[in-house]
Chain length 401, copies 2
């Protein structure tokens, strides 16, 4: 255990964050509340879907062979043998030369192997004129073509989208096994911090980070629990960390931004458990602390808002995703052309806020203490540690937000 600032690569910090993430127990939630939750088990289809071969069009069930060569000039003439009602089957088996009307979703009668769209037909006495040939299987979905009974339809670790809820509904999963939402304690430290409701006096700033962190935690499927602003008094601070660690599944501490505060965060975590990382080769965000306070993971985030956000995105996110069991944590990236040269120091991962527009990424070289660049940017550019930067015109990948 070291309290000293010995900088580790981002990859190592991510590894440590992941290793500390203990997935929580599962719980069951009603399907209607499962959006954005993470599956705690594979989901198996309880039935064949569809359970019957059905039409995807309003039209006529036919034998495809009967329509071969049909056209406007020489339509196929098929004897109409009735009508399939929605939700019920017909007893009649289609024989050569016959057809039956059926609506979209209707059960294909036995014997038929295709559906001719109503638009391509014309009634003619008790018969139907078919003016376009149908291929075998046209306009139908076959029995269990979508999902087979016993098939895994969605995998454990998937964060559920609107579409996924549709799949769960189809396979009868009205009570969904999901991972519990981790409770994340959030503490702000710093003598300079005042609450949002207060007008800062000289030397003071409002507590910005706890709101950013709480919303980020919600974005990642966790429940923020706020412990307010703690002044730089080691005893009070230690008591607050202890309380948060006792009540939550992890603790995020928005450090005072000065070295004294940062040392206090590391020292208090060390006194309660262990510090694994104190200093990361990342800019902004170098003074990041990762450890265990008692039995729960604790991350000390830098004080500057932009630095906090970068460390949340690059490192803390892996802890949160690990705790929710989210198996697809990497954010989508968007390729772009760089508008200007971006120099970078080798051995350090740089994260630059950028504005991305029409495929061109323009870095905003704001100081990490500025909020306006964070709000004005719409993505971030990562410059890997092994890179000395990118030249103007390079193709780069942007993480959008």
């Amino acid at each position: 255990m070291s309290l000293f600032l010995s900088v580790v690569p981002v990859s190592r910090a991510v590894e440590v964050a992941k290793s500390l993430a203990v997935p929580l127990h599962a719980e069951t939630v009603p399907l209607d509340e499962a959006r954005e939750r993470v599956l705690a088990a594979d989901i198996i289809s309880d039935i064949d879907i569809p359970g019957f071969t059905r039409s995807v069009m309003d039209g006529y069930a036919v034998l495809a062979a009967d329509t071969a060569g049909a056209g406007d000039a020489a339509p196929a003439v098929l004897s109409l043998r009735g009508r399939v009602m929605m939700g019920s089957a017909t007893e009649h088996e289609i024989l050569p030369g016959e057809c039956i009307y059926l609506p979209t979703g209707g059960i294909l009668p036995a014997g038929a192997d295709a559906v001719v769209m109503a638009e391509n037909t014309e009634p003619f006495g008790d018969s139907i004129l078919v003016k376009k040939p149908a291929a075998d299987g046209e306009n139908i979905i076959r029995y269990n073509e979508d999902f087979k009974k016993g098939e895994t339809v969605l995998n454990k670790g998937r964060r559920l989208s609107a579409q996924d809820l549709g799949v769960l509904a189809a396979v009868g999963c009205d009570q969904v096994p999901v991972t519990k939402r981790p409770r994340i304690g959030i503490i702000s430290t710093g003598n300079e911090l005042v609450p949002v409701t207060q007008v800062p006096a000289a030397g003071q700033v409002r507590d910005v980070n706890s709101f950013v962190i709480a919303a980020f935690v919600r974005d990642h499927g966790c429940i923020p629990v706020r412990y307010g602003i703690v002044r730089d008094d080691r005893e009070t601070f230690a008591a607050t960390v202890q309380k948060a660690a006792g009540e939550c599944d992890a603790v995020l501490i928005s450090g005072g931004s000065s070295k004294d505060d940062r040392d206090m965060t590391a020292a208090v975590i060390a006194g309660m458990g262990e510090v694994f990382v104190h200093g990361v080769a990342i800019a902004p965000g170098k003074p990041t602390v990762i450890g265990r306070a008692g039995t729960v993971p604790a991350i000390g985030l830098p004080g500057h808002p932009a630095a906090t956000f970068v460390v949340l995105l690059a490192i803390a996110r892996h802890l949160l995703d690990g705790m929710t069991g989210n198996a697809a944590p990497d954010p989508v990236t968007i390729p772009a052309t760089l508008a200007i040269n971006v120099p970078s120091t080798k051995g350090r991962e740089d994260f630059l806020r950028v504005t991305l527009k029409d495929g061109v990424a323009t870095p905003l070289f704001g100081k990490s203490g500025l909020l306006n660049t964070l709000a004005r940017s719409n993505g971030i550019l990562r410059v890997p540690a092994e890179s000395e930067g990118f030249e103007k015109g390079s193709r780069v990948e942007i993480i959008p937000w």
Copy 2:
């Protein structure tokens, strides 16, 4: 008013959907609950930020001119005149040849115009050796460099992200003016539909769409209100639409998929108000209905899940965004190379589910009744109405999900 299916372009359907969207009244929510809500007013900074020129590093406040030419071999020697404590100012004004220690976030003493990082210095008796020159303004954030008092920091119509909450905190906005969350009634119709809890008999399918629609509605900042499954009985259906229209701000009806059901949806909306669109040049999703049931907007969605999802994304979204006042409704797109030829009919907008991987988009040519392609895909490709499709290797834009 026409009840007949006369197909309109997607652009026209979007126009109608937007024109029906009446923005709701504003309400105020605590900052901590404002995530993903839409601002109902411009937000003005109540203070200058920062309210004082401050350091972004732990180090020494200096006059930059004093450090000109400083290096390891020939350091500048500055007389240390004390220490700035966090959250308080020092009375001492820095004179040439002097420096004062200050922590990150500390108030820059009068006279100083830069900060030298502690790492580039060394104590030497009562003096400090500075081994690297500092430029004017280095490592400091100037008074109101971030936001000026009275400046608009975030605009009306912005959907609030984690970073935005940080900006709101900084400008003292602890009670946030946001638009009310529209209540969206959701009705499923179709004799073939059974609840998720039931095992479908022959010809029946589980009600999938109401769950997809409810989650999509939530994704767009609205509150879904479920009215269950209504069988294809015009009287009951009309009564349910009437009830939903009375209790909600808009109604989404997942149509029975057959022509009879679709006609019923259009007829009932027409009987209660007016139908503006009945049929859109979109695939999948042609039998879409847009109208007004009484005073509230109503959209009839197609019965097939994939078609429902496409119409939600391409058309209904504009109604929801209009009601929440979301000013940036267009989803981000990701450029990709097309893996195969995609033919398309001119005059119709085609939406193809695709899998996007390593910059290559591969369309899944599933029938619109299939759920598995919806869950397996991770984005959608739009083929504009004026296009006859794209060739393999074309650069296309994918809407990710």
